[in-house]
Structure formats: C-alpha cells, structure tokens
C-alpha cells in the first residue's frame, strides 16, 4: 500500500474519532476540538487527492492544495467565533452548558458566577 493511501485511511479514522467526540462531549469547547479533528481529516483526504494528481513536474495538484490553505484559515476564523460565543455565554450566565432544560446540572455554576 502506498503512502497517499495510508494517509487517506488515517484521515478516515480521524473523521470517525472527531465525529464521535462531537456527538458525545457535552462541553462546547470539546465539540470545537472534535470539529477541528473532523476538519483536519477532510483536509487530509483533500491533500491525498492532490498528491495523487501529481503531474507536470509538481508534487501535487496545486488547485486542491490552494483550497486547503483557504480552508485552514477559514477554519481558524470559525473556531475563533465559536470560542468568543462560549466565553460570552460563560460571562453572562456563569455556565458553559448547551443543555436547554433547567435541570439539576446547571443549578450549581450560577452560585459562583458573577452574572
């Protein structure tokens, strides 16, 4: 099995791991981390496709590679927005929960929160 295929299989596992984390973790920051894992898996598939398209003296197809650069920068902007949203929620409510029902879980944090 050649190197691009191995990296492609690695990418598949990364997407799987990220998807599992995205579903099960209750903390928003862990969801952002998992989402970044999924993203890097997708980017890796893209890089594998670029590598397989190596021709005309370049080591990889430059079109998907250029898209990857754009994707990494936009992923950072999206993560920054997600982090700003959860920090603001934490400042406002003292809690960092995505749960909508006012059950027993969010009862504790407001006690030490400043909001």
């Amino acid at each position: 099995m050649n190197a691009p295929t191995l990296f492609g299989l690695c990418a598949a596992v990364l997407v799987g791991l990220g998807l599992y984390g995205l579903i099960v973790h209750p903390q928003p920051l862990r969801k952002v981390l998992s989402f970044n894992l999924i993203g890097s898996g997708v980017f890796l598939v893209c890089a594998v496709i670029a590598r397989r398209g190596a021709a005309a003296g370049v080591g990889g197809d430059p079109v998907p590679q250029a898209l990857l650069i754009t994707a990494i920068v936009v992923a950072f902007a999206a993560s920054a927005l997600a982090v700003a949203l959860m920090l603001r929620q934490c400042d406002e409510t003292g809690s960092n929960s995505l749960s909508s029902d006012p059950g027993p879980a969010p009862a504790k944090p407001p006690a030490d929160g400043e909001a």
Binding site: P26, L44, R52
Partner: protein, 314 residues
Amino acid sequence: MSDALHLALIALLLALAFWTVVARETFAAVAGFVSYGLLLTLAWVALSAVDVALTEAAIGAGLTGALLIGAASRLRKTEAAARTEWPGRATRVLAAIVASAVAAAIAACVLLLPDPAPTLAPEVAQNLASTGVGNPITAVLMSFRAMDTMLEAIVLLFGLIAIWSLASDRYWGGRPGLAPVYEPNGILAYLARVLPPIGIVVGIYILWVGADYPGGKFQGGTVLAAMWLLLMMSGLHDAPAVSRRWVRLVLIGGPAVFILVGVLGVFVANAFLAYPAGFAKPLIIVIEVALLPSLAVTLTLLLIGPPQRSESPP
C-alpha cells in the same frame, strides 16, 4: 520519507487524535491537539504540500492552539458542571457505531479513488507563465481562483465583525482582551524587545518569496500577528480600541484593494478579477502587499476576541 516513517507518523497522529477525544481534562485535550497540529505539518510535507504545511504550522497549530489554550483556561471553572451532562451508554454506543460507519465509508472511498487520478496540474503548469509567478499555489490563489481568495479575506473580516458584536454594550468600541501586565525585567518583555525586528523581516520575506517558492501572505501575516501578540502579552503595548480609525482602515485596506483590482479588470481585461496581459505579476504583488497588514491585524484581533474594556487606560 520512508514507509516506516510514514507509519510512525500516522500512528502518532492517531494516538494524539484519540487522546484529544478521550482526555478527561479539556486543557489536556487541547495540549494534545496542539501537538497533533504540529505533527500534521509533517503529514503535509510527506504529501508534497509544503505551502499547506507552512499554513498548518502557523495557523492550524499556532493560532488555533493559542486560541483554544486561552479558552480552556478561562472555561476551567465550568468543567466539572459540564462533565455531569455526559450522555448515557446507549447514546455513546450509537455514536461509536455512526462514527465507525462514516469512517468506513470514507476509507472505502479512499481505496476506490479513480486511477489514473484526475488532475489540473498540467493546466496550471501550462498557464503559469501568463501569471508571471513561479509558485503554482500562488498562481491558483491569486489568479486562477482569485475569487476564492478574495471571498476568504472578506469572510475573515465578517468573522471579526461577528466577534466584535459579542461585546457588551458598555465596552462597545473599547479595547479587546484583558489589560496587560508589564514586567520590565520579565522574560516576555525581553523576548518582545528582541524578536519583533527579526519576526517582521521574516514575515515580509515569507510574503515576498511566496511568488516563486512556498510561502505567501497568510503565512507571513501570521508571523507578523505573532509578533504583535508577543508585544501585547509582554505588556509593552496595549491592544488598540477597536473604534480607532486606523484599525478599521488597515482591516478593510487589503480586501478593498483586492476588490478595486477586480473591478479594474472589468474595464481593462473584460472580466472581474482578470489581469491585463503583462500586468499580472505587478497586480498580484500589489494585492498581496495590501493584504499582508490586513491579514496580520485581522488574525490578531480574531484571536484576542471582543472588546472587554473601555477605551481609556485605567
């Protein structure tokens, strides 16, 4: 790199990704993710994507890592409460099944990729001469798919506007981030006096060399952003109030020049973002030079978040 090295790299990547998902403390998970990002850089090199490797090291691992570490330490006090909301066993098993199925489907697609692989590399190589730049990635970013790059610069700006909109009313237009603590003899203050002159030269060099070799405005802009962040963290310099006119002019300057050159193309080359023959390289350089300060300031302000203090110094 040999196959054994590739396998070792893949094993490490998967182990760190696994750690990122299963670690109990969010802070430990973030630490794993930063190391993962740095190792991913090697994967891009192994796949002959050196430009992507530079971007990953600067933005994917560097800036994203700094962002997540800051968030993890500020959210630490909410950790225990959030952890009580863990889903039940049935949900976890179901999630594992769904995740494995998706992973298996992607693995199957990777194994069934068409052979020979479709590629646009020959077309890019054929038309490279008309752009005047030597790096095919820069040619794609700035000429063949310049529209994507322009929209990306605008998306970054919109992201920043969205983050600023999260400021509470009394701090609107104020200074972002926490007030810096200045320790004149601290190691950070020392680094912040020594590194920026070197970093600024390196950042501009990375931009300039990007025309012909791996590099470019995003990577160079990130190095400049890192230098500015170092100055702010050391307390030598405070973040500017986001209502300052120079901040806003620098932020929109790069995208505005990009759009202007695009509109110019309608009149002199018959298409939006088309470059007139013989002027492609100078125009590409004009756009990249205009984008460098915009990107550096945008990336820095994205990282430090919405205004949290009033404009006047305490």
